[in-house]
């Protein structure tokens, strides 16, 4: 199954890209997507803490199972205002 991955702020800079598509085994969780990203994108290995995660523009915890076709985003703690 495919998911579209978006990266923001420091993660976007570490990865040198703001979006990519990943092909994952059925039943993958959003946390597993992050682990796959760190294997696939070398720059992201430098990011040690678990990032914040969102599925289709809503916050999600790492154990949420994906169906495929979602927009999955990873980003650092927020600092707007």
């Amino acid at each position: 199954m495919k998911v579209r991955v978006l990266l923001f702020a420091r993660l976007r800079e570490l990865a040198s890209r703001d979006a990519l598509e990943l092909d994952l085994p059925e039943g993958s969780t959003v946390g597993e997507v992050w682990r796959r990203l760190q294997e696939t994108v070398e720059g992201l290995r430098a990011y040690a803490p678990p990032p914040l995660m969102a599925i289709d523009q809503a916050y999600a915890s790492p154990d949420v199972v994906l169906r495929g076709g979602e927009e999955v985003a990873f980003f650092p703690p927020v600092s707007g205002g």
């Binding site: 809503a58 985003a73 600092s79 707007g80 205002g81």
Partner: protein
């Protein structure tokens, strides 16, 4: 009414948006780029957002505010891109029948924006840059 924008924030325009005959008070909060932060001289600030999610989160904050302090009218605009010192990064404007609700709503809303809106700030100094990451910048109850 809940927007991520690239253009300078037009506060008089936002005030007009919330004005109505039931309102007896309009409260505003405007966040601006500060010269000093944590002992460093800030030359400029760059804000980045996940716009589609940020606008949903801001709308959700609007619903929380209406439940706690309503009836009221509220607008929130957060600017992204490169901002100079003194420029407005965020504006929250609330009209309500009475000042107490309007002031409380604005105060609550800016705290929630800082906690949960997917927006990030990068500061530019004379000798480099740094992303700020708020330690309490994490999702609240969904």
């Amino acid at each position: 009414m809940f927007k991520i924008v690239r253009h300078p924030i037009d506060l008089p325009g936002l005030l007009r948006l919330v004005g109505n005959e039931e309102a007896g008070a309009i409260a505003t909060f405007v966040g601006v780029v500060r010269r000093q932060n944590a002992g460093k001289r800030v030359m400029a600030v760059e804000y980045e957002a996940y716009p589609a999610m940020a606008e949903k989160v801001l709308s959700r904050i609007g619903e929380e505010v209406a439940r706690s302090f309503g009836p009221l009218r509220m607008v929130v605009e957060h600017r992204v891109g490169r901002l100079e010192v003194g420029e407005a990064s965020v504006a929250i404007v609330v009209s309500a029948a009475h000042r107490r609700e309007a002031l409380a709503a604005v105060s609550y809303a800016i705290e929630r924006v800082k906690q949960v809106a997917p927006i990030w700030k990068k500061e530019w100094y004379e000798d480099g840059t740094a992303w700020l990451e708020n330690p309490s910048g994490a999702p609240g109850p969904e």
